[in-house]
Symmetry: C2
Subunit: 408 residues, 2 copies
């Protein structure tokens, strides 16, 4: 250990950092303005409002989405367009409503969930908004540890086989939030084929980062819909995706892909809620995004903007935390987050110290059901929104906060 | 009765009409293309994406809506902006979700509705999509007859006082769908002040036609939020409105106005479902609609397009049905519908005959809970979508169908 690495030294550095009076919000995985700029053509005048089937995009109707929008998402998700619904802005809303309709009406051929206790399996760390839906709508959650290849399948298989109250499981199969985990083919196959005590068990397959690569290699995850169909469980998985982190985060379009039975079920229930989604926004998106190649080219532009920010954070962590025992972090190949793993009992303290230094992080524990990280050892880092200069500074501040928390 | 009015004569006219091979869908209250054209500036390039508070409309966030959108709807609804939420496209979705959150979570300070049987009062004839929400989500419905001044308040007061399962009531207070009824001040006052056995009783106040005048006189309905507040029931009413029939029916923005407690409750629950509405569409709308005067001028243009269509239907009805006993129809001062009232037991038959003649009407009974018009005597006429020529022809066909049904 050199003099520069003495605990007192880091305390001084932290104090000096505080004096900078930084004010940075890194609490959410928001795209940066220059990423949103990539899709500013959405703001341009739309050339006509007729869909390919003659639908006037401005008028009522069309719960299932416009044909060209379904076609585009079908190609992007590698699913027949007939098995795709395209809706308004956010995929989170589609997930929420799948759960609402299951609670109040039941899935095809099954009783409403709300009559009995309902439990969901939650791979952790995971996405706080998934867990918030369960908590808000009265669904109990069970933590499932993550491995490098996906959720701990031995535990998952054991639990779903014995407990019929387990009606669903949250999955972010690629570049998971926040751990960056990519589900292996074996995990996908086991999720599709496992025996569940509940006949109406659902995989909530949030394919949020399907096109959101950071590395040179574009990692692929096996098709859960194909795997489920092959395993004789065609209605088990519902796939969600959106253009939120492709075009404009707040004004994108969202898609749901599933078995024909699930699509019919969804369309029936969504048709009660709404006369139809914003089809003009679907037209805008189809005309901008065009096809898979255009989307991939756009995502490459996102990658060029995001990659340096992730590298800057990793470099700062390496510099300040590389030799601190018990500290590690993920080096994601895609997605929007780095998971900083701290020694037990130090995440909350670190987040509080960072806050004092002007850096707002996602609350420690947020990546766990009920906001409770049992080991208090995960901090979600969201490098996307700040500028490269800001994120470099912020990573330094977070690292110093952790060292001060550890007295290391 | 002249020779031209003999039953056989009408039968022949109906047969001749059938030969025209018309194909007209009048099943829904859709704006006509030329009405949608009035807002084609929505398609034009948007000049900037910053909200007045600096929010980047393209990014995540803002469950409650942009300040300028809330301000606009506040002025339009005569409510402080702080008591307004502006959301994505459709007010129907907001109504649906208010019921969902009430079912699963309960209104502020009260238990979830779903634990006990829930009943809604439904003034009839009414809006089929309101009733569909109740039917789909397990809420029992009770018909309430309409008077010329609103629902039969003696019956309403009696039922809500004695039955604690009655948790809500649908109200379209102005130019009601389909009867064109305008609630009187006395009805508004009684709804606000009446004693309800359920402490969490809700008026679902669908102000769908607030600006949608057909007559010279712009009728006003007393403020239900003010009346409820004055009566000591501030949380009783939730007001819904949208730009659907102001700008583009499928791509508008929707608003919910309520007490501060209800706004906080809504925002909390809607924030679980979504990270925020499409704020870019809110910006587009605010820049197009600007203020109350601009909206009123736009609605006057709608009126000029709609009025001749309503007059054409009324003229045809007068000509073909004016002397038929037991047949009457509404002469609405606003809104989107005419209610054709037939002798008992002849509405379904008339709709079927019209269908044979190429005119698709809203199914008879649709304006009643469970699609069941006990007297089978109401046909909802939606003159807005077809051209003036088409609607004139269609009204003739409908009238002939009714005469054939009646053998009159």
């Amino acid at each position: 250990m050199t003099a520069a690495d003495l605990p007192s030294q880091h305390h001084e550095q932290y104090q000096a950092f505080k004096q900078l009076g930084l004010k940075l919000d890194m609490s959410r995985g928001k795209p940066a303005p220059e990423q949103l700029d990539l899709s500013n053509a959405l703001m341009a005048s739309l050339d006509g409002y007729q869909a390919v089937d003659g639908t006037d995009g401005r008028n009522y109707g069309g719960t299932i989405g416009l044909p060209e929008a379904r076609e585009l998402f079908g190609k992007l998700l590698d699913v027949p367009a007939a098995q795709v619904v395209v809706d308004s802005s956010a995929s989170l809303s589609l997930m929420h409503d799948v759960i609402i309709y299951s609670l109040l009406n039941g899935t095809p051929g099954h009783a409403p969930w709300v009559r009995e206790p309902v439990t969901f399996l939650c791979p952790v760390p995971g996405y706080d908004r998934h867990f918030a839906i369960c908590e808000a709508r009265g669904i109990k959650m069970i933590n499932i540890p993550m491995t490098e290849a996906g959720p701990d399948m031995d535990l998952v298989e054991k639990l779903v086989a014995e407990d019929a109250s387990i009606k669903g499981m949250w999955c972010v199969p690629k570049y998971s939030n926040p751990g960056g985990v990519v589900y292996s083919d074996a995990v996908v196959a086991r999720l599709a084929a496992m025996k569940t005590a509940a006949p109406d068990f659902r995989l909530m397959w949030d394919d949020a980062y399907r096109f959101h690569h950071l590395g040179e290699q574009k990692l692929e995850v096996a098709s859960i819909l194909d795997a489920c169909a092959q395993a004789g469980n065609p209605d088990r998985a519902i796939v969600f995706a959106s253009s939120s982190k492709v075009t404009w985060a707040g004004s994108g379009i969202a898609a749901l892909a599933a078995s024909p039975a699930n699509i019919a079920w969804w369309t029936k229930h969504a048709g009660i809620r709404s006369i139809g989604p914003d089809k003009i926004n679907q037209l805008r998106h189809v005309r901008l995004l065009k096809d898979v190649a255009t989307v991939e080219a756009l995502m490459e532009q996102h990658r060029q903007l995001l990659k340096p920010k992730f590298e800057a954070v990793l470099a700062q962590f390496e510099h300040y935390l590389g030799e601190v025992p018990g500290v590690s972090w993920t080096r994601p190949q895609g997605g929007y987050f780095i998971d900083l793993v701290t020694p037990q009992g130090s995440a909350k303290r670190t987040v509080a110290l960072a806050k004092e230094a002007g850096i707002t992080l996602t609350p420690a524990g947020a990546a766990f059901p009920y906001g409770n990280d049992p080991k208090d050892s995960h901090i979600r880092i969201a490098p996307s929104f700040p500028s490269l200069e800001e994120i470099t500074k912020a990573a330094q501040g977070i690292a110093l906060s952790l060292r001060v928390a550890l007295g290391a």
